[in-house]
């Protein structure tokens, strides 16, 4: 899925076959279907945490804008790229809200 096809009205969901654990400087995601590990830096870990808590991408972008005091448009663009990467690796799915 390209980032332009992604709607911020969509909900991001972490599938059951993906588990994640937070460490001090990294969040590790494990895809149990592939047995592969993936690492997120603290910013990525925070995005994943907000995705898990809020789901809907527009809400997540709002929260990120608040947390990092950055323009909403920039956070929306960053979130699109981030989610596109996770979708391509099978680590999240996007659903209609």
């Amino acid at each position: 899925m390209s980032t332009s096809e992604m709607s911020l009205d969509q909900r991001a969901v972490i599938p059951e076959h993906v588990v994640h654990r937070a460490f001090a400087a990294e969040t590790v995601l494990l895809n149990l279907q592939t047995g592969k590990y993936h690492g997120l830096n603290p910013s990525g870990g925070r995005m994943l945490e907000l995705i898990e808590r809020h789901g809907t991408l527009s809400v997540v972008a709002d929260k990120l804008s608040e947390i990092y005091s950055r323009p909403l448009e920039q956070m929306q663009a960053d979130l699109r790229v981030f989610c596109g990467d996770l979708v391509s690796r099978g680590l999240i799915t996007l659903e209609a809200a």
Partner: protein, 305 residues
């Protein structure tokens, strides 16, 4: 299901029940709930054919294979032309051993592979580490093979620590924290190691190394510290630092059992690594190669107390 034997003992958080005596394997006071039945097959054919699903193959360049581990419907098979064959059931409750006929230490693969694999199946995390106990808590030392885990552990023991495990240590996340279970009370010591005074009760076999029985701690202990040992060129300055943001890849890479890839094991492994990172003192010890392991122990000890 095979009948349980009346002999055996405890190692790696497992209670091994065996119909035949296994040198050095003795019960510990606390009876663990994880029972494994060990059976010796006199017919090597009883273990079935090697599976084509090989998951670990160890051999030198141009040399015949030394060991092969395969996954099969009934569990995991270990095959070594020198050290025998083993079959570990898929649920980790039974080990069938076809021992080598010409070996002065026929149980090598039981301690080096079969029991650690069974422990991983049964819910324990198994690190490639040696461990000692100081003041009632375990200190695990992990490093690449040949980088002196056992030598450093032996030096710590000469300084007053107690033996917990050599080369493989079984860990468990409990409500009270991460605990280390004693390994087998067997050390594979080099000629040099014995000459240096590895304190042992008796020699049970000799291959390329001396296989000796040592006195071990009498039960599981809280894991106080995990030391990542890295060696520097001789003459370098020793550096021991506490790692507050441990890289999960260090922990994942220090596992001893790579072959058990069941989802529940992978999740449990991640859980215990997270518990270690959160609650155990993690040290990065960069120590130079030296002829004096006692100096290494004395350099490290202040960081362990």
């Amino acid at each position: 299901m095979a009948a349980h034997g009346t002999r055996g003992g405890d190692a790696f958080g497992l209670h091994i029940s065996s119909a035949v005596p296994v040198p050095g394997l003795e019960p510990l006071p606390r009876h663990p709930e994880r029972m494994v039945c060990l059976r010796v097959a006199h017919d090597h054919g009883a273990l079935g054919r090697r599976s084509s699903h090989e998951i670990l193959y160890r051999a030198g360049d141009g040399e015949p294979p030394q060991m092969l581990i395969d996954r099969r419907p009934g569990g995991y098979g270990i095959w070594s032309p020198r050290a025998g064959r083993y079959l570990i059931s898929a649920d980790g409750t039974e080990i069938v051993a076809a021992l080598p006929q010409r070996s002065s230490w026929p149980w090598e693969l039981l301690f080096a592979q079969a029991l650690p694999i069974a422990a991983a199946i049964r819910g324990l995390e198994v690190l490639h580490a040696s461990a000692v106990a100081i003041d009632g808590a375990a200190i695990a030392i992990t490093a690449a093979s040949g980088h002196g885990k056992s030598t450093l552990a032996a030096a710590l023991i000469r300084g007053g620590a107690e033996f917990v495990a050599d080369d493989v240590v079984a860990l468990e996340a409990t409500p009270d924290g991460v605990v280390a279970h004693p390994g087998a009370p067997i050390v594979n010591a080099s000629e040099e190691g014995l000459a240096r005074g590895v304190a042992h009760e008796r020699v049970v076999g000799r291959t390329a190394k001396h296989h000796v029985v040592v006195r071990r701690v009498q039960g599981s202990l809280p894991l106080r510290a995990l030391v990542f040992l890295e060696r520097l060129p001789a003459g370098s300055r020793a550096r021991v630092v506490r790692v507050l943001d441990v890289d999960p890849a260090w922990l994942l890479g220090s596992t001893f059992v790579f072959v058990v890839r069941a989802p529940q094991r992978l999740v449990r492994q991640l859980d215990i690594h997270q518990a270690i990172a959160a609650s155990v003192r993690v040290l990065h010890a960069r120590l130079p190669w030296t002829e004096d392991p006692q100096w290494l122990a004395e350099t490290l000890t202040p960081h362990l107390l």
